[in-house]
């Protein structure tokens, strides 16, 4: 797994079970920029990116990752003093795998078409290194509430990237936003009968869809450029090696 530049937070002995102070807020906000799981920690650039050619599946995927990340941290942290060291990887994997199964079953029950669309990628959340990485780096050594927040925060940071990549790819690749969802809209490109929703007028009728954007490679370029931008502003992240 990639190097994680995580400062393990000091464990305080006497703290209320649920508090939401500055430190807790930092647990949530840090992963959004300074310690973003994708662009800084280099964890979890996995398969979830494969669904980012459209925004709607990216949003559903993000929610699933946030859920799994938060609750697996919570459960691991609750169990952390009872998990035998030798088998902790397996135990963590079982916790994650069951949560992912919960997501899968729920999605099948609530929204079958999107379940069909995401298909194997839901299952692949299990091996998303971000989940496992946070369990190892944080939840195994911290109290439940803080671990839960850390999990949610990392899920959010991860989801934010997924959605940004999804928005860029869908607008330029397909000219629409949220295709496939109830609030589908066509933004740019020909109003042509090429898309289902022909009623909405569009802004730039002359725009021809950029087919590169729908290829997997486009996600790579977009993340590469995002890292470039982020590091230009945030010099301390620059890779000196």
């Amino acid at each position: 797994m990639a190097d994680t530049n995580v400062k393990a937070a000091p464990v305080q002995e006497k703290e209320p079970l649920f508090q939401f102070g500055k430190k807790e807020r930092k647990l949530l906000s840090d992963p959004l920029n300074d310690n973003n799981p994708i662009t800084v920690q280099v964890l979890g650039i996995c398969s979830a990116l494969a669904v980012t050619s459209l925004v709607y599946p990216s949003v559903v995927m993000s929610i699933a990752v946030i859920f799994v990340c938060g609750f697996s941290s919570l459960f691991t942290s609750l169990l952390r003093n009872y998990i035998p060291k030798q088998v902790r990887m397996i135990v963590q994997l079982v916790i994650i795998a069951s949560l992912v199964t919960v997501v899968e079953l729920t999605l099948k029950y609530l929204n079958y078409p999107i379940y069909k669309q995401l298909s194997v990628y839901i299952g692949l959340i299990i091996t998303n290194c971000i989940v496992m990485g946070r369990l190892e780096a944080f939840a195994m050594a911290n109290k439940p509430w803080r671990s839960f927040l850390d999990g949610i925060g990392n899920g959010l940071g991860y989801g934010a990237i997924l959605i940004i990549v999804g928005i860029v790819r869908e607008i330029f690749g397909k000219g629409s936003l949220f295709a496939g969802s109830p609030i589908e809209m066509k933004l740019i490109g020909p109003t042509a009968e090429y898309f289902i929703n022909t009623e909405t007028s569009t802004l730039f009728g002359w725009y021809a869809n950029n087919n590169l954007m729908v290829l997997p490679a486009a996600a790579m370029f977009i993340i590469g450029i995002m890292i470039w931008i982020q590091r230009s502003f945030n010099k301390k992240l620059v890779d000196i090696s």
């Binding site: 919960v102 397909k174 496939g180 729908v214």
Partner: protein, 252 residues
């Protein structure tokens, strides 16, 4: 805490708890999930006769309406390779998984056929299921023939992993689908051709439709799928054709 017994006990207890909880959740959601799946498949079948659903699009139909239509207006037939109707107690046409059937030898395969009766006119539509390969993965669809068994009433396609904006347009793009309406599956001489998806535009009005630019492989896949898929139904369709000829002769 590091004894083997503790580790084994921990693993076993955890496995048991997890398995019980997941099985519980599965039992609770099972009925709903299965209904969702059935409705999803039924909607896909109705897509091919979308123009004849009494003014509503498939999207606008509620789940109950979909089930009603299937109960009252759709007959389900299961065919074998010779075009014989199979009398099966356990399986209905909608239960046939084309993906699995496609891997079997022709003699063991079953084909689903849906006969849709339009409510107002009583016209019959024959909905055939076809399946083939796209660019990345499998593509499939349903194509509805009018009662002359030659004119296409409509078609709808779906796919596992075609590229959004390119190959995926076979599903997303309403106008690609609409092109199929009114096409014939035979050429002027009565020779079977199926409907051809032509790169750079259809060459004739009778049995060709325009391809999607940038998605040549998927479009060729649709052509091959239709040709191969409809061919399998020919024995059954021929019987129907002969039947109606005899009937026509009798009336004269």
């Amino acid at each position: 805490m590091n004894s083997t017994n503790y580790i084994l006990g921990f693993i076993l207890a955890m496995t048991a708890i997890v398995a019980i909880m997941l099985t519980g959740l599965r039992e609770v959601t099972k009925a709903g999930a299965e209904r969702n799946e059935a409705i999803f498949n039924k909607r896909a079948i109705l897509m091919s006769v979308e123009n004849y659903l009494g003014g509503k699009t498939v999207k606008q139909l509620s789940d109950d309406e979909v089930e009603n239509i299937f109960q009252n207006q759709v007959e389900q037939v299961v065919l074998d390779v010779q075009g014989q109707e199979l009398e099966l107690e356990s399986i209905q046409a909608e239960d046939i998984e084309m993906g699995k059937e496609r891997k079997k030898a022709d003699e063991d395969r079953k084909w689903p056929l849906f006969i849709f009766n339009e409510e107002s006119t009583g016209d019959k539509f024959y909905i055939l299921s076809v399946r083939g390969n796209g660019l990345w993965d499998e593509i499939w669809g349903n194509i509805a023939l009018k009662s002359d068994l030659e004119t296409v009433a409509g078609a709808a396609f779906d796919h596992t992993g075609e590229t959004p904006g390119l190959g995926a347009e076979i599903k997303d793009n309403a106008s690609f689908r609409k092109q199929f309406q009114g096409k014939k599956i035979n050429d002027e001489g009565g020779e079977f051709t199926a409907v051809i998806v032509r790169k750079n535009g259809a060459r004739n009005d009778r049995n060709e439709v325009d391809g999607i630019s940038g998605a040549t492989v998927t479009c060729d896949g649709v052509t091959d799928m239709l040709k191969e898929g409809i061919q399998y139904y020919q024995p059954y369709l021929n019987k129907l054709r002969q039947g109606s000829e005899i009937q026509g002769a009798l009336i004269k």
